[in-house]
């Protein structure tokens, strides 16, 4: 059951409304059953009363029940009350008049009273908005497959759910795909989960929050609805990608804001410190996003959008945030004026790289066609890497051994592919399938890993009927109004 927060129904998403509708139908069925039960009891007691059996036996409770079933206390007459002494119309602040209700809304009533004291009496706080731009459907971000349980898992950065589908789920031509279950709601701490890992041993779901909660949440595969995570790990601000080295039991996270990679014990929780950190001028990390481990060759591949700056330890007492021991240097340690906006890249490191280690090689340059490369996956059999190329609306395939300004081996792109702002990519090796999550069109699609060009997917999962418009909002923060064109500017 998806979470339904306490805002009006019209602000809920389509799936939320659907689930809420199910709840309401259930409640109707219960109410109907109770009605017939009460009606039957009422009829039986009426028959007994009419036959005089109840009075004859001297029983009072059946009459009380009869009265209750008939609706309880009933008005038989009314009288005017005498006027109280000194009665007059007096001004009473609305907050006082609300009584217990006001106590339930302390801030609102406090502000109201403060305003009244200032001479303002209008409370306009409950005025409804004229309109709202809000996508009612899930916007998929990251994707991973649970091969043990034959499920595919998707994060959703619009309605803030983790969606679990059957891996072979069928989608009707004009419909959305039916999920097996959802995890979402305030207790889950799920919001902008941009990285995803499924534990192959037990199906545990690791979902990385980007920059609103600073918490990696871990759920068992049995988690459903608005449940607390089974485990949480406090993380540096701005984590994005995740990779796990199962042999070493190590968990890797990229940190966008700090141009760093932090490595934790896989089972770390709470405020555990990282085992090691990769950060520094020589690393080439520049707004790192996705990450994948090549366990055969003990390498770590990282995609970078290209923005970077230098960091140096700042003076004690000048930090904005409390940091955990061993965390990377943060924006508080940024060297002013050292920023650069470089071309995108894939940087490759030894798996155990730490400190200010340089990459062993870098894929970068105009031939690569990289444009905001985001998630990355590897096919260790064919020794190829797959890159979700967000800005290019494509998936790029390179040899894992590529270096420098190289053209991709294959480019999956075009209207038939249904790829639009792809932010998630996953290679399902056992089934030889490539999954791509598109933030730009409510779609996750499956391809042959050898697909090239404008190839149609083998099958799709959709959160919305096809061709629904996509606002593409994701953590909208500032706004501007273009008064010349009468348009609203909304950065993510």
């Amino acid at each position: 059951m998806p979470p339904v927060e306490s805002f009006p129904l019209k602000y809920l998403g389509a799936e939320e409304v659907k689930q809420l509708d199910t709840r309401i139908r259930l409640q109707y069925m219960i109410d109907a059953a109770m009605f017939f039960l009460r009606a039957g009891l009422f009829t039986a007691l009426c028959v007994l009363a009419a036959a005089g059996l109840i009075s004859d036996l001297g029983l009072q409770w059946p009459l009380a029940v009869l009265n209750e079933l008939a609706g309880g206390a009933q008005l038989v007459r009314y009288d005017h009350l005498p006027p109280e002494e000194n009665e007059e119309c007096t001004y009473q602040p609305i907050a006082d008049a609300l009584g217990p209700l006001a106590a339930a809304m302390p801030l609102r009533s406090a502000l109201m009273q403060a305003r009244i004291a200032q001479g303002f009496t209008a409370d306009l706080s409950q005025r409804e908005p004229l309109r709202m731009i809000r996508d009612p459907y899930a916007a998929y971000s990251a994707v991973a497959v649970d091969n043990t349980n034959n499920e595919v898992v998707l994060t959703d950065e619009n309605l803030f759910n983790i969606w679990v589908y059957d891996r072979n789920a069928k989608t009707a031509p004009n419909a959305s795909t039916e999920p097996k279950r959802l995890i979402g709601g305030l207790n889950t701490k799920i919001e902008f989960q941009c990285g995803l890992y499924i534990d192959p041993a037990n199906g545990d779901i690791y979902a990385v929050n980007n920059d609103t909660i600073d918490t990696l949440v871990i759920f068992s595969r049995k988690a459903v609805g608005d449940v607390a995570p089974d485990r949480e790990l406090h993380t540096p601000h701005g984590t994005f990608g995740i990779a796990v080295d199962e042999s070493a039991k190590e968990l890797f996270l990229t940190v966008q804001h700090d141009n760093a990679i932090v490595v934790f014990n896989k089972l770390a929780r709470g405020t555990a410190s990282p085992l090691r950190v990769l950060q520094g001028d020589r690393t080439g990390l520049a707004d790192p996003h996705g990450m994948v481990l090549d366990t055969r060759n003990n390498l770590l591949f990282v995609t970078n959008h290209g923005s970077t700056h230098q960091v140096r330890p700042s003076s004690p007492g000048t930090r904005r945030r409390e940091e955990i021991a061993g965390w990377p240097l943060t924006r508080d340690d940024a060297v002013p004026g050292s920023g650069q906006i470089l071309p995108p890249s894939i940087t490759v490191y030894p798996k155990d790289a730490a400190g200010d280690a340089a990459p062993v090689r870098t894929i970068q340059g105009p031939k690569t066609q990289m444009d905001w490369p985001t998630a990355i996956a590897i096919d260790p059999e064919r020794n190829e890497i797959f890159v979700a190329n967000d800005g290019g609306n494509s998936v790029l395939v390179f040899p894992a051994a590529a270096s420098g300004d190289v053209a991709p081996l294959r480019v999956l792109k075009g209207p038939k592919t249904l790829i639009s702002n792809p932010t998630g990519v996953y290679l399902d090796q056992p089934h030889h399938e490539l999954w791509v999550a598109s933030f730009g069109n409510h779609t996750a699609a499956v391809y042959d890993p050898m697909a090239n060009g404008d190839a149609a997917p083998i099958r799709v999962i959709r959160s919305a009927p096809p061709d629904q418009a996509v606002p593409g909002l994701g953590n909208p923060h500032p706004l501007a109004y273009d008064s010349k064109r009468e348009q609203i500017l909304v950065p993510n």
């Binding site: 927060e5 602000y11 801030l107 609102r108 406090a110 502000l111 403060a114 200032q118 209008a122 306009l124 706080s125 005025r127 908005p129 004229l130 309109r131 996508d135 009612p136 459907y137 971000s141 619009n158 305030l186 919001e191 902008f192 941009c194 609103t212 909660i213 701005g238 804001h257 141009n259 520049a286 707004d287 959008h305 923005s307 700056h309 000048t318 002013p336 004026g337 920023g339 906006i341 905001w372 985001t374 933030f439 996509v470 606002p471 593409g472 909002l473 994701g474 953590n475 909208p476 500032p478 706004l479 109004y481 273009d482 008064s483 010349k484 609203i488 500017l489 909304v490 950065p491 993510n492």
Partner: protein
């Protein structure tokens, strides 16, 4: 957030509307953590910070797709550390950018490349915090900045627009009666009515994500001290959950507010504030 962009919607857009245009992609030079955007109606430009690359990017008003900025302020002389918020004064041709270390840098609006700020406001007397939102009232020559005395103790600091150095604010709004808990995001000024319009985060166990105590409050540029808002919009106990940025459509007397938890942009018709 997986996908950076600036989406542009028609003012009448609602529901799952498609943007009329989007600025996105490598060529745009955009990055994440754009917590400020300013549209300049005089020069038909808009300006955003680029935090990770320590830059200020200005685009033509009709920019679309993977379009490069027309000007970039970036380099060692800028003193930019992690620009997150900003505002543009199109009348006096200045860009105001707070830093993470309690200063506000002021650049020429048409600055290009590695330019030094033309003045810097900062020091203990200013009460400036770390990279707080700000807004400029070009009519009354005021600079209004966020300040923070501690957690849950947000303050509006009102300076003269041209103040520099270690200058005290001319007024400070905040305190327990004010309802100013923490800023939700960048605020707006409406000089014609001498108003400051501020998104205020709520409190409660999940306040980092959502709170029904959140609201947008309207204060006056003439306020000083522990003054409550003249109006609250969208709450407390209203529709807002985590209000962020605010923009004003004065022609239609609408206030626009973004909300992180709703992942939405809401338009309130609010003639009272115009």
């Amino acid at each position: 957030m997986a996908h950076p962009q600036i989406a542009v919607f028609a003012s009448s857009a609602k529901g799952g509307a498609r943007p009329v245009r989007k600025i996105e992609g490598q060529g745009s030079l955009l990055g994440r953590t754009m917590h400020g955007i300013a549209y300049d109606p005089i020069h038909d430009e808009f300006t955003v910070p680029q935090q990770f690359g320590q830059a200020i990017l200005t685009y033509r008003g009709a920019a679309n797709g993977e379009e490069r900025p027309i000007r970039i302020i970036q380099g060692p002389h800028t003193q930019l550390d992690a620009p997150e918020h900003l505002d543009v004064d199109p009348v006096h041709n200045e860009i105001f950018v707070p830093t993470r270390h309690g200063t506000i840098l002021v650049f020429p609006r048409d600055g290009q490349g590695d330019v030094a700020p033309i003045r810097v406001l900062g020091g203990p007397e200013t009460l400036l915090g770390s990279d707080e939102p700000l807004a400029v009232d070009a009519v009354h020559n005021l600079l209004i900045s966020g300040g923070r005395l501690g957690r849950g103790q947000a303050r509006l600091l009102i300076f003269n627009r041209a103040d520099s150095g270690n200058t005290k604010p001319k007024a400070v709004v905040g305190g327990p009666r004010s309802g100013l808990n923490a800023f939700g995001g960048p605020f707006a000024v409406y000089p014609a009515k001498e108003e400051i319009i501020v998104s205020v985060r709520g409190t409660g166990p999940n306040a980092d994500m959502s709170s029904d105590e959140a609201y947008v409050g309207v204060w006056s540029i003439n306020d000083n001290g522990d003054v409550p808002p003249k109006y609250t919009i969208g709450g407390p106990k209203g529709v807002l959950r985590m209000p962020r940025g605010i923009a004003l459509d004065a022609k239609n007397k609408n206030m626009l507010v973004s909300d992180k938890r709703l992942n939405a942009v809401l338009t309130f018709h609010f003639p009272e504030i115009f």
